[in-house]
Amino acid sequence: MTTHVTTETPEIPFVTHIGPDGPWAGTLPDATPDAHSLIPLYRAMVRTRTFDARCVALHRTGRLGTYSSCLGQEAVGVGVASAMLEDDVLVPSYRDQAAQLTRGVTPVELLLYWGGDERGSDFSGPKRDFPICITVGEHSVQTAGVALGMKIRKRPEVAVCMMGDGASSKGAFYEAINTAGALNLPMVMVLVNNGWAISVPRSTQTVAPTLAQKAVAAGIPGIQVDGNDVVAVTDVCSQAIERARVGGGPTLIEAVTYRLSDHTTVDDARRYRDDEEVSAQWKREPIARIRTFLADQGVWTKADEEALRSECSDEVDAAAEEYLAIGPQPTEAMFDFVWAELPPDVERQRIQATLDWGKDV
């Protein structure tokens, strides 16, 4: 008996609505039915970029810790967050500020976190959202756990995981999508393919032509979307999230974008990446195309733009000022929240730590 093995690339749809050069007209998807409905998405992207630039500047002047910029990836996070409902749960990684900000995490909280203060992960907004995951890809399996809990409790909720292209090489990622399929979990996995895992290009991670096709082996739908097209991201995520919400199972979404920044503020990408590649990618960045579209549709004026820029700038100014005015936690704060109740032996250590150092930092 001969077994035929097919080596054909599986059919992976690539969804785009508004590319870098248009189209500037035509039908919009259900999630964003008219030009007016795109204005909040546009505003969220500009707000994210303003915040992100300030974080980099604060690091440069020694007032923020190591920071991973999301420059160029604003459409992915804004699209994902816009497609989620408040009671859904986001399990993000360390470059998903756009999604976090749009979900309601405040700029001050993010500044505190990146400034080296644990209070930044105590979100006032999306109370069930997980803290960002630093260990790459390990949160994918946790997201499956969140989704399983939603399913067991018969809640109409969806767990959404965001992770990078590098994370798709991790065992945990395969375990997560396989289990999500096997248990028919209400989970959406968004792979933010920004082309680079620190110095390692996407082509070194895998010879698979797409990352989305990894869904095929897990038996779940896989789809590619233009990650620099906020309309397409919102569309694809909305469909996947709503299908998951009604018991239709998980989806793997590969959002194709580009890391316009260094890996972090302590990285120098010029050592391993050509400037020409980055310049070419600037022509695909997500914000200008939507502005052009909105202007073309007659719903966005120069005055609107100026007002938005100044509003974002004012908000970030105020957030930075508030962040910088927040003093460090007292020494003993490192003992808080290690356990619900501090064991007596460690309580003695807390007292000793205050004796060792004093209260103030």
């Binding site: 080296g116 991790k170 620190i198 290690v338 460690v346 060792d356 150092w357 930092v361």
Partner: protein
């Protein structure tokens, strides 16, 4: 002879042994094209080519597994895990496989791999980048764990680790990478594994440390000397197998011992040394052993980092505690 940093000493040792031994290969995340996030593998790709210096996909399990497979079948891999906190998904490979290969096959196979990873705090990095997991590793029979404390030890112990017939984890204190320089001759001479080093001799108290706490302890000894207190400082260097002899001999003279480490106190490696002192040196002790360690908390983010890490002042305070005991 040029002044060499700790991280340059590692790159020098790797290059030296790649030159000496064709079986030595370097693998990890960002080790080739970028030369490592700390530059510990700088220049190796250019010199030895992409067959021997390999950027792996971003997956610690596979980096560990490749190491076991390579070493189990005759190669000499020196793998890099980017930060110790990312090692845990490769721990199954280390704990269940690398350390047991010789034993499980009754010596037919062995696993001469090296796993290098930055350890400890002091560089104000993001979360999970400051772990000191030596005590976890010390619980693994068959595994050697080394923590160099200076550029020359980094050079000599890295060479020894690559040449060792069994798996070795090298925990490299990230805060030392560029903090210290030394004249190092690239002579290919290894330092012995499994040996504790007496760094300074004094009659009043024995301070035992490793990694980043060695320089803090030596600084503490300087401070104590101005008050007329003379301390012996011992660099354990190899966590496992532990060389207890110099510690026992020193405590026999001083009668007092302080153990300094950055990791959390409970079940930290200091507990093993204290237990061995209780077992083998109890009659030498004139005072209870004291520890200057991290607290039993999560390693804090940058703003409180310095409040977690024991410094020279906390070592000095611990010395005063053991001296003041009647």
């Amino acid at each position: 002879m040029s002044e060499t940093t700790f991280v340059q000493a590692i790159a020098m040792a790797l290059a030296r042994e790649m030159e000496n031994d064709d079986r030595v290969v370097v693998l990890g995340e960002d080790v080739a094209r970028s030369g490592g996030v700390f530059r510990a593998t700088d220049g190796l790709l250019e010199r030895f080519g992409p067959d021997r210096v390999i950027d792996t996909p971003l997956a610690e399990t596979v980096i560990g597994g490749l190491g076991v497979g390579l070493a189990g079948d005759g190669m000499r891999p020196a793998i890099e895990i980017q930060f110790a906190g990312f090692m845990y998904s490769a721990l199954d490979q280390i704990l269940n496989h690398a350390s047991r290969m010789r034993n499980r096959t009754r010596g037919r196979l062995s696993c001469p791999m090296v796993l290098r990873t930055p350890t400890g705090g002091g560089i104000k990095p993001p979360e999970h980048h400051s772990d000191s997991p030596e005590a976890i590793l010390a619980q693994i029979p068959g595994l050697t764990t080394v923590v160099p404390s200076s550029p020359s030890k980094a050079y000599g112990l890295t060479l020894a680790a690559i040449r060792d017939p069994d798996p070795v984890v090298i925990l490299e204190p990230a805060r030392l990478y560029r903090a210290t320089r030394a004249d190092i001759t690239d002579d290919g001479v290894a330092m012995p594994l499994g040996m504790s080093f007496v760094e300074r001799e004094g009659a009043d108290v024995t301070i035992v440390a490793w990694g980043g706490m060695v320089s803090e302890s030596l600084a503490a000894a300087d401070d104590l000397a101005t008050d007329g207190i003379e301390a012996t400082v011992i660099d354990v260097a190899t966590i496992s197998p532990l060389d207890m002899q110099p510690i026992l001999e020193s405590v026999e003279r001083t009668g007092r011992c302080v153990i300094a480490h950055e990791a959390a106190r409970q079940s930290g490696f200091g507990a093993e040394i204290a237990a061995r002192l209780a077992e083998e040196g109890l009659t030498s002790l004139l005072a209870p052993v004291a520890r200057a360690t991290g607290y039993d908390t999560i390693f804090p983010l940058a703003r409180l980092e310095n409040r977690y890490m024991p410094n020279r002042g906390r070592v000095v305070a611990a010395v005063h505690r053991v001296l003041e005991y009647a």
